[in-house]
């Protein structure tokens, strides 16, 4: 039998039983679609988190108060409290390190913002003029915080785009006075819309000079200090320089933790990749189930077509020709199901992207390839046993069956 004939014969056999073929394609396609959608979700989450941190800028060292015993980056030092204040003076001192490009201290807290009778809870970020460049933000109107002495509590504020809309509506915001907590501040600028970043939505943020924020919250300590280095290669040297400087300032004791962006990205990347793989593995179980269904359906097909197999043998078909025909039929059914599943999966991922625009829910190529490959592989694998059974049928008994 020629390969083209085997293929045509198997196709005719598959299409001759539409209900059976549709059911099997459905089972296989659910498996493949599950792999595609779940990996799209997992990988989307991974990309989302990576994008969040990449939005910080690429050559970043983050200094936070407190020291975890083991060092390095762990979830613990994201929430640990400080034994000693990290101050604006500490941050300013770091400017002396030669490879440091920008320094932005951060003091963070919640307060109330009010304008013209409208009042809302707001997240307040106290920082310096460098913050704008460091975060690659752009101004929609006005200007950012003025450069100058970081210890001076200027009465100015910069609003996030959404906050501006809520407070001022169609009115101009720049130049107006707002109330923040117990202070009156003048709005000097509005940020361009940029969305999420570093766990806060900068569209709903009010940014004030760091000393103003510290006065507002009655504290001396900083939440974080962001340090941008001159180049990516400078990350390591800067980390050491900053450690030396801080140790010097603290009488030999290092009580801050430094995190490079690479460390954070690497960790999240690993965690979320593992998560995606795990989810893909769970979805792959449904492919194995579909494979067993392929086997069942093919066994039923062979029982239904026993007389046909006997006839083919009487007409001179070798066992190998019959085995190939059934194997190709199983492979075709799996492939058709897999392709249908790919379509459904991509539609599902598209639906996810529509429903959650922030999530880049694209199925990764490796998952698509693995899903298709596993589907066809299991289809063929579970098709082998029925096909061999068909090839071994005794033609006399097969012909006697009607």
């Amino acid at each position: 039998m020629r390969p083209a004939d085997t293929l045509r014969f198997a196709t005719r056999a598959a299409t001759a039983y539409p209900v059976r073929t549709a059911l099997m394609m459905l089972a296989m396609s659910i498996g493949v679609a599950a792999v595609v959608v779940l990996t799209a979700l997992g990988d989307g989450a991974r990309r989302y988190v990576l994008a969040e941190f990449s939005a910080l800028g690429s050559n970043l060292v983050i200094m936070l108060p407190g020291r975890s015993e083991t060092g390095g980056f762990g979830l613990g030092n994201l929430i640990s409290t400080t034994p000693r204040d990290l101050t604006v003076q500490d941050a300013e001192a770091l400017r002396r390190a030669p490879l440091v490009e920008r320094i932005a201290p951060m003091a963070v807290g919640n307060s109330e913002i009010a304008f013209g009778g409208r009042l809302r809870e707001v997240m307040v970020l106290g920082t310096t003029a460098d913050y704008l460049e460091l975060r690659r933000f752009r101004m929609a109107q006005g200007s950012f915080l003025p450069a100058g002495d970081a210890t001076r509590a200027g009465s100015v504020a910069v609003l996030g785009a959404k906050l501006r809309d809520e407070l001022f509506g169609h009115e101009a915001a720049v130049g107006r006075m707002i109330r923040l907590g117990d202070r009156r501040l003048r709005v000097v600028g509005v940020l361009e819309r940029s969305g999420q970043g570093l766990g806060m939505n900068s569209d709903e943020l009010v940014i004030v000079p760091v000393a103003t924020a510290q006065n507002l919250f009655d504290t001396n300590t900083l939440f974080r200090v962001l340090i941008e280095t001159r180049s990516r290669e400078a990350l390591g040297p800067v980390q050491r320089q900053v450690e030396d400087l801080m140790r010097l300032r603290r009488g030999g004791e290092l009580d801050v933790t430094l995190i490079t962006q690479d460390a954070i990205l690497g960790t999240f990347d690993r965690v979320l990749l593992a998560l995606t793989l795990g989810v893909a593995g769970i979805a792959a179980i449904s492919l194995a189930v579909a494979g067993i269904l392929v086997m069942n359906v093919m066994l039923v097909a062979i029982t239904q077509r026993t007389a046909e197999i006997g006839l083919l043998k009487a007409l001179g078909a070798t066992g190998g020709a019959i085995r190939n025909a059934f194997l190709v039929e199983a492979a075709l059914l799996s492939l058709a199901g897999a392709i249908a599943g790919l379509g459904i999966g991509h539609a599902g991922a598209w639906g996810l992207r529509i429903a959650f625009p922030v999530l880049p829910a694209w199925p990764p190529d490796w998952a698509v390839a693995a899903g298709l490959g596993t589907a066809v592989f299991t289809g063929v694998l579970f098709g082998v046993m029925p096909a061999r059974r068909a090839a071994r049928l005794d033609p006399i008994q097969a012909l006697a069956r009607r």
Partner: protein
């Protein structure tokens, strides 16, 4: 040397702990172009003999020479090749593949033998014309009458131009007149040189053969040539 030579053929089936001798010491010579009928009661071994002649079954003992070649020693794939090129089967219940058209059913042996598509189409078209099936070429078996179905089956059995045509109750599922047509068709194929071996219960069909074999209990009890040639 005869076309078919059976020597000391034994076929034993085991049913539980008892042994059934389906064929005992069969000795048979059949010349090319002969017209044989095999008759006998149910269970006499007629069908077993036919299956054996068609290489669908193997004897427990003895030798079967087809055209001088000992085919009992061939492996399954070689036997399949012999079936493909030298033997045609016609069954009582037609055994057409229901999802394939008449033309595709006739083309099956050519496809299994790996004949290329152009050659296949020419031969199938010729066969459809020869058997008066041209208008039914693209009909499925369920759209054909019994006689048409058996004609498709005979066209399929002869498309490879086999040396031997084996027919197992070819008219068993047909009414008298279509049965007669089918018999005449088989006989005309025999006249053009194909050896025809018919297994039947029907005495009128059996009587038409030029050589009649009667079997009982797995043995050939009579083997007689017809007293006269039947009129064409």
């Amino acid at each position: 040397m005869a076309q078919i030579e059976l020597d000391g053929i034994q076929r034993i089936f085991r049913l539980g702990d008892s042994e059934v001798h389906a064929l005992r010491d069969i000795e048979l010579r059949i010349e090319a172009g002969e017209y044989l009928s095999v008759m006998g009661p149910s269970g006499s071994g007629k069908s077993t003999l036919l299956n054996l002649l068609g290489l669908l079954d193997r004897p427990n003992a003895g030798h079967y020479h087809l055209e001088g070649r000992d085919v009992t020693t061939l492996d399954a794939d070689e036997q399949a090749r012999v079936r493909s090129t030298r033997i045609g089967f016609v069954f009582q219940s037609f055994h057409l593949v229901s999802r394939l058209t008449a033309a595709e059913n006739i083309a099956l042996p050519l496809m299994l033998a790996g004949v290329d598509v152009a050659e296949r189409n020419t031969r199938v078209r010729r066969a459809l014309n020869d058997f008066g099936l041209a208008p039914r070429a693209h009909h499925k078996p369920e759209e054909l009458s019994g006689g048409q179905r058996q004609r498709v089956a005979i066209a399929r059995a002869t498309i490879m131009q086999p040396a031997v045509l084996l027919a197992d109750e070819p008219t068993g599922n047909l009414d008298r007149s279509t049965g007669h047509e089918v018999t005449e068709l088989l006989e005309s194929l025999n006249r053009s040189g194909t050896t025809l071996i018919v297994v039947t219960h029907d005495p009128t069909m059996g009587e038409r053969a030029t050589r009649r074999i009667r079997m009982e209990d797995g043995a050939i009890v009579s083997d007689a040539a017809a007293p006269r040639e039947l009129p064409a």
